[in-house]
Every structure is written in C-alpha cells, then in structure tokens.
C-alpha cells in the first residue's frame, strides 16, 4: 500500500479511537459538575459520592483521551506535511489556541479536582470541575473550527502557493461551525448521559446501591433527553447547510445518482451499485428529503452525476464522488441510533414523571443498559459520513487527500507506525474496559480501598524508611 492509503488508515483508526473517549469526557465532566453543584447546594454526601464515583470513570477515560490526543496533533506534521504547509497559516492557529485556551485549563484544574478535595474550599473545588467542563467544551470549539475550515473553507486567500488567513472572524462565524459545534457538543453530552444511565440501569437491575444509582439515572436521563433532542435539531440544521455547501456529500449520503424529483423522498434503505452508478430496491419516505434539505415539503436535490459534471467544470477532470456506500450507510446508522436514543430518553422521562422509577420494567432497564452503546455508534458513524463524504478533498475545493501526504516518508515507516499505534490502542481499549467493569462492580462505596492497608507494602517492608 502507498503512504497515502496507510496514512489515511492511521488517521482514521487513531481518530475514531480517540473519539470514543472525547465525548465521554465532555459529557461526564458536565454531569459531574452538576452532581457536585447539588452536593455544594444541598450538602447531601450522596451527591459528593456521585461526583467521586463517576469521577473515577471520568479520570480513567480522560487519561486515554488525553494521551491519544497528543498523537492527533503530531500526525498532521508527521503524515500530512504538505497539507500542513498548505493550510498551516489558517489551520495551525485554532490548534495553538486550543492548547493555550483549553488544554492548560483542563489539565491544571483536573489536577486541582483530583488532588484538592481537602486542600481547597468546597466552592473552589466545585469551580475547578466547572472549569474542566468549560475547558473540554472550548477544546471542542477550536478543533471543530479547524475541521469546519476543511469542510467549508472561509476567511482565507491563496497567496504564495498556500492558503493564508485574512479574516479570523469569518473562521469563528463559519456557518459550518455554527451547525457542527452544537451538533457535536450536544452529542457528547448525550454520550456521557447515556453512559451514566446505562451503568445505573445495570446497577438498578442488580438492586445495588439503589438510591445512589436512581439519583444518578435521573440526573443523566434529564441531560440525555435534552441533548438528544438538541442533537436532532442541530443535525437538521447541519443537513440543510450541507445541501448548500457540500451537495456531493448530501447526494452520496442519499445514494442519489440523478437529480431527485420535486418533492423529494428520503431513502430509508437501498442497494447501491457504485460501479454502474445506480441505486435499486429503494424504500422511500415521501417529502422527507425535501424537508431534510430545505425545511419545507418541496424542492429537488441534485444528484451525484449532475454534481460530478459541475465539479469537473470547476476543478478540472477527476473523480469527485466519495465512497457512496460508506457515506450512505453511516448516515443511516447515525440517524437510527439517534432516534433510538430519543425513544429511550422519552420513556425514561415518562417513568420518572409518573414516579414509576421505584420499580421500572426489567426489559426497559436492559434496553437502557445496552443504550450506552448508542451514542458511540452514532458519533462514529457521523464522523465517518462527514469525513468520507468529503473525499477526495482534505480541504473542500482546495486540496486533495492525495496532495496532502508527506512526500518524504516511506510506506515502511507508516506501516510501522500504523501497527504500533494500533497495538498500543488495542491494549489501552481492553485495559480501559476492564478497569471500567472493575470500578463499576466495586460500586460507589468501596472506592477508597484500591490501596487497602493490608496490601500496602509499607506495612511489611518499608517501616524503616520513614523512622
């Protein structure tokens, strides 16, 4: 395989892996901040326990998110140096600001939060977790600003053979960012919320620490339902923006080869044949694509064949059709997972409303437990659609993936890094799941015994050291 393909595999795999943890960090930070706020306001120690118990999972998850994030920053230069040269003027700034504004905030105050329980006042401690939550959100903002530039480049001019920034305000108010940021951050809140409801449901099924986990479940369910609805609304806005700015991605995610009729129906499933440029066995919901694209029940959507011709006119000869099957199915998986989250969330709220959480359905709680997998599925497929659907571009309309790769690296080097990063990530993933299960099994009231006295070698061998 060539360095382009290998570098793409590396970027895709390391980014997807990294993005299992980022939304959990963003979501859990908010939930923990809410729980600790309730502790400070009500003085009930159970809420403090909640912050600490979910905090334990947060920290394990945060560690993996942080270390896999370092690689993200370096591999632009390592594998995509020509990309970095071409857009560094625009793209580097948000990354630097992300580090300066968000990473310092997160890393410093997470230290204060972990180690500061009895060293700073309650309020300062509470402020630290809110600052961590703010930091994670700011970090999302600046990295999405950089990504939005790649989806919809604004605020630059091509000078000296590269893209040079000429309007930072245009970047900050990029239409793409204004739809992408809420969609992504709300999805992250939903991810944290469904993780907490899922684990709580499991514990409630086992009837362990019932009061603790019911309270956790209720807080998270409220956050979960609000953010799930929010994700859907923001997603709708994003789809409309997509039709305007990246119609090819929209057409590909619909498997739409020729221009649609007016009004356009939304394809639920289809058999896509990219070789013959045809989709068969389509099941459609009438009017739905028009609504998705324009918020009204009329209007036709351009197909890939039309767009291919238009792009060839604009950018010269080439294949501008992204991998259609991947784009099509990842979009549907995302929508299906998101819809299920809303259904589960609504039912959970109904149970709470009718005060039926005392004895909820066993089958429903099982659904809620497995529901913790829905947000990661939706997040991952959403990003696959977004990034694959942009091909062959790295920066839409400006630079192709082919041209972005480092010319001075060999496929052997990249193969080596792909294998080593995949191996270490696989280990990290397994260890993380194992530790999660261990912490969850122990429960919130057994946490302090990780270094139980009886296991402390200090008692056996070390007493002379401090006498």
């Amino acid at each position: 395989m060539d360095t382009v393909m290998l570098s793409r595999i590396q970027f895709a795999s390391t980014t997807i892996f990294h993005y299992f943890f980022v939304p959990v960090s963003i979501g859990l930070a908010l939930l923990i901040a809410i729980m600790e706020t309730m502790y400070v306001r009500k003085g009930n120690d159970e809420y403090k326990r909640m912050a600490q118990f979910w905090g334990k999972l947060f920290l394990i998850n945060f560690a993996v998110g942080v270390v896999t994030g370092i690689l993200q920053e370096f591999q632009f230069g390592m594998n995509w140096s020509d990309y970095s040269r071409f857009v560094g003027d625009v793209f580097g700034a948000p990354l630097a600001i992300e580090a300066l504004l968000a990473f310092f905030l997160e890393s410093t105050f997470i230290g204060i939060w972990i180690f500061g329980w009895d060293k700073v006042s309650k309020r300062v401690h509470l402020l630290s977790i809110w600052l961590v939550a703010l930091g994670t959100m700011l970090s999302a903002f600046w990295i999405l600003l950089a990504n939005s530039f790649m989806q919809h480049p604004v605020g630059f001019a091509v000078n000296n053979g590269r893209a040079e920034m000429n309007d930072i305000w245009a970047l900050v108010t990029n239409g793409q960012l204004l739809v992408e940021f809420p969609h992504t951050v709300l999805a992250a809140y939903a991810t944290g919320a469904f993780l907490v409801t899922g684990i709580s449901a499991y514990k409630l099924l086992k009837k362990q620490d019932v009061s603790f986990f019911r309270k956790s479940f209720e807080i998270a369910a409220i956050v979960g339902i609000i953010s799930s609805f929010g994700v859907a609304i923001a997603g709708h806005a994003q789809a409309q923006y997509l039709v305007e700015t990246q119609p090819m991605k929209m057409a590909a995610s619909e498997g739409l080869w020729d221009d649609s009729g007016d009004p356009a129906g939304w394809t639920v499933i289809a058999k896509i044949d990219p070789d013959n440029k045809i989709s068969t066995h389509e099941v459609k919901i009438p009017y739905m694509l028009s609504f998705l694209s324009y918020s009204k029940f009329s209007g036709s959507v351009k197909g890939m064949n039309t767009l291919q011709a238009e792009y060839e006119q604009a950018y010269g000869p080439g294949d501008y059709i992204p991998p259609v099957r991947t784009t099509f199915w990842s979009f549907r998986i995302m929508v299906a997972a998101g819809s299920l989250m809303i259904v589960l969330g609504v039912y959970a709220i109904y149970l709470m409303w009718r005060k039926k959480m005392e004895r909820p359905n066993t089958w429903f709680m099982r659904f809620m437990f497995w529901g913790l997998l829905l947000p990661p599925i939706a997040n991952t497929s959403g990003w696959i659609m977004t990034e694959m659907g942009r091909q062959p571009w790295t920066v839409f309309g400006l630079m192709t993936t082919e041209d972005s790769v480092s010319p001075n690296i060999t496929s052997g080097q990249v193969l080596f890094s792909v294998i080593s990063f995949t191996a270490i990530y696989a280990i990290l993933g397994l260890v993380l799941v194992g530790l999660f299960i261990k912490v969850i099994k122990k429960g919130p009231y057994a946490m302090d015994n990780d270094h139980g006295e009886s296991h402390d070698p200090y008692n056996k061998e070390g007493s002379h050291a401090f006498s």
Binding site: L59, I60, A63, V66, T68, I70, L71, F74, Q75, F76, G77, M78, S81, S84, R85, V87, G88, D89, V90, F91, G92, A93, L95, A96, A99, L100, L101, F103, F104, L105, S107, T108, F109, I110, G111, I112, F115, G116, N159, N160, R162, E164, M165, I168, P407, N408, Q413, F416, S420, F421, L428, V431, L435, D450, H451, H455, D456, G462, A465, F466
Partner: protein, 338 residues
C-alpha cells in the same frame, strides 16, 4: 522592537524552555520510581508528588508544537515528517506513561503494577532523550532539500553528538527531578534524593562540558553567536556550581532553581544558536528554514499574538496558583491518590 516573526520565535523558545523546566522534573521523578524508590509506597509517594502537575506540564509541549504549526508551518511540517520514526517512539512512550499514572494503582496485582512501572520509566526516559536528539540535530544540520523536505538517514539523526545530547538531557532531568523530590517529600526519601543528585553532579558536568566542546567543533553556532553563547555558557557554569553548593547546604529550593536554570539555559542556547534559522540544511545554506521563509503570513501572526498575549497572564496565573495549592510535602501517611 521585535518583529512578529522574531516574537514568535521567542515565544516558541519560551514554551520549550517551560516544557523542559517543568516536565523535565516530572520526567526525572518518573525515572526515580525505578532508581531511587525502594518499595511500592515510595514509588507512590513519588508519583503523587507530581500527580497534580505532570499533565499540565506536558501541555507546554503540545502548545509549543501548536505554536510552531501556527507561526511557522514549514518548520512544523519539515520537523515532524523528517523525524517520523523518533516521534513514533516518543509518542508511544508518552501514551504509555500518561495512562500508567492513572492505571497502575487500579488493581492489586504485582504484575499489573510492575508492567505500568516499566511504562512510567520508559515513558519518562525516552521522550527527553529523543527530544534532545532532535534538538541537537537542529543545530548540527540536517539533509533538507530546496523544497524544505528533509530526507534523513539513521546516522543523520543518531550520531555521537546527538546521543551525547540525549544522555545529557536525560541525566539533567534526573538531577532536576531529584531536587524536586527533595522539595516534595520528607525523611529518608528526601535525604536519598539529595545524595543521589550530589553523586550525579560530576558525571553530568562532564557530559555538559563534552556537549559544549563538541558543539564548538561540530556546529557553526559559535561562529554565528559566539559572544552571546559564551555568556550563556558562563551563566550555566555558575548556575551549575551554585546548584552543587546549595545541595550541600540543603537549601533544596535554591538548588532546584539552579538545576532548572541549567536546563533552561541549555534549551536557550539551542535557540540562540539557531536564530534566525529554525532548521539548518546540511546540504546548502540556501535551503535553511528561517523565521521568514518558514513563517505564516503577517495577518495570522498578528491574530495569534493578540490571542497569546491576552491569554498568557491567565494561564501562568492559575498554573502558579496550582503549585501554591499543592506546596505541602507528600507524606506516606496521608491519602495517596495514585
């Protein structure tokens, strides 16, 4: 008045000085877990002594690389693609180290702890070694062609000069870390840390001296900035001697400041030697990357300057405050988080 290009060169230098000064000591403490600690409790005391800080210290590196990307995209691109394999190893080490702190105490199994202890050691030893190798080869010069592409073979990167630099910085981190340990621990551990630092002073001095001599003969930096570098070397020697003096007087805070100063001056000397180049081509002077031809446009630099100068006071403020919050010594009898 500094031009924006010069200002960003200085800011990046400051970020790397900050990184080596701060993460330098937590790398050192990471190494101590295998060299100095006698048992698991001591290991935990050491890890907890850097617990609240190491993550933020590492952000100095991330910010430094980010600033390079934003202000000098060609520098960033040439550097990271050119040193592909060393950075793969540095990243693997940093990844393993970062999770090891969080993971090692989460299970009561000896094999489990030993595994993560190895990760902490390698993760604390490899990154400073590899980064020092990279920085040393900066001033030695690298095969960079007219398209700013670097095609380096193994011996362009790994040679006597760069390896000496690597070992020197690793040892400097260790001594700096030992002095940090004297500040954050009590009793026997503190005593042993100070003694070990004192023992290492002579070998480290020899290495530092060897590096300076080699730099004189093997690079052009003394021709370029002889006077200024001489001042730095003299200041460095003074700080070094003072660190030894303060160690012997058990003035640990001052000694820590001095080992930090030696570290800072070493990094500064590299940047002084480079300026106004950012990467030196061994093929042709004309292919050098400089603060002009590697830089972003004026508008970008201006925006970045405004952002950086408005944020830096806050960043520095709360980081200093966090050191104040955790100024008390770590005691084995209290709750140890890790």
């Amino acid at each position: 008045m500094l031009s924006l290009n010069e200002l960003w060169f200085v800011l990046i230098a400051v970020l790397f000085v900050g990184f080596f000064f701060l993460e330098g000591f937590d790398f050192g403490v990471g190494m101590e877990t295998q060299i100095l600690a006698k048992n698991d409790t001591e290991r935990r005391v050491l890890i907890n002594s850097i617990g609240p800080f190491w993550d933020a210290n590492e952000v100095w590196l991330i910010t430094g690389a980010g600033a390079m990307f934003a202000a000098f995209p060609h520098w960033y691109a040439t550097l990271f693609s050119g040193f592909y394999i060393p950075f793969v190893f540095a990243l693997l080490a940093l990844i393993a180290r970062g999770v090891a702190f969080e993971f090692r105490g989460k299970r009561d199994s000896l094999a489990w702890q030993k595994t993560w202890d190895v990760c902490i050691f390698l993760g604390s030893f490899l990154p400073p070694f590899l980064l020092a190798v990279v920085f040393a080869s900066f001033i030695k010069g690298l095969p960079i062609d007219g398209d700013m592409q670097m095609y380096a073979g193994f011996f362009d990167i790994v040679n006597v000069y760069t390896v000496v630099a690597g070992i020197t910085v690793v040892l400097l981190c260790l001594v700096h870390g030992l002095m940090f340990t004297t500040l954050r621990t009590v009793g026997d551990l503190q005593e042993r840390a100070r003694k070990m630092a004192q023992k290492l002073l002579f070998p480290l001095a020899a290495l530092l001296l060897a590096f300076v001599v080699m730099t004189y003969y093997m690079t052009d930096v003394f021709e370029q900035r002889g006077a200024l570098l001489l001042v730095i070397v003299i200041l460095g020697i003074a700080a070094y001697v003072l660190s030894g003096y303060f160690m012997s007087k058990k003035r640990d805070g001052l000694a820590f400041g001095m080992t930090g100063a030696v570290m800072a001056l070493s990094v500064v000397s590299i940047f002084v030697g480079l300026f106004p180049r950012v990467m030196i081509s061994s093929l042709d002077q004309a292919f050098n990357l400089t603060i002009t031809n590697a830089a972003s446009g004026h508008y970008s630099l201006k925006v970045m300057t405004i952002v950086a100068l408005s944020l830096l006071p806050f960043v520095l403020g709360y980081q200093i405050w966090s050191y104040f919050v955790f100024h008390k010594r770590v005691h084995e009898k209290e709750h140890l988080e890790y």
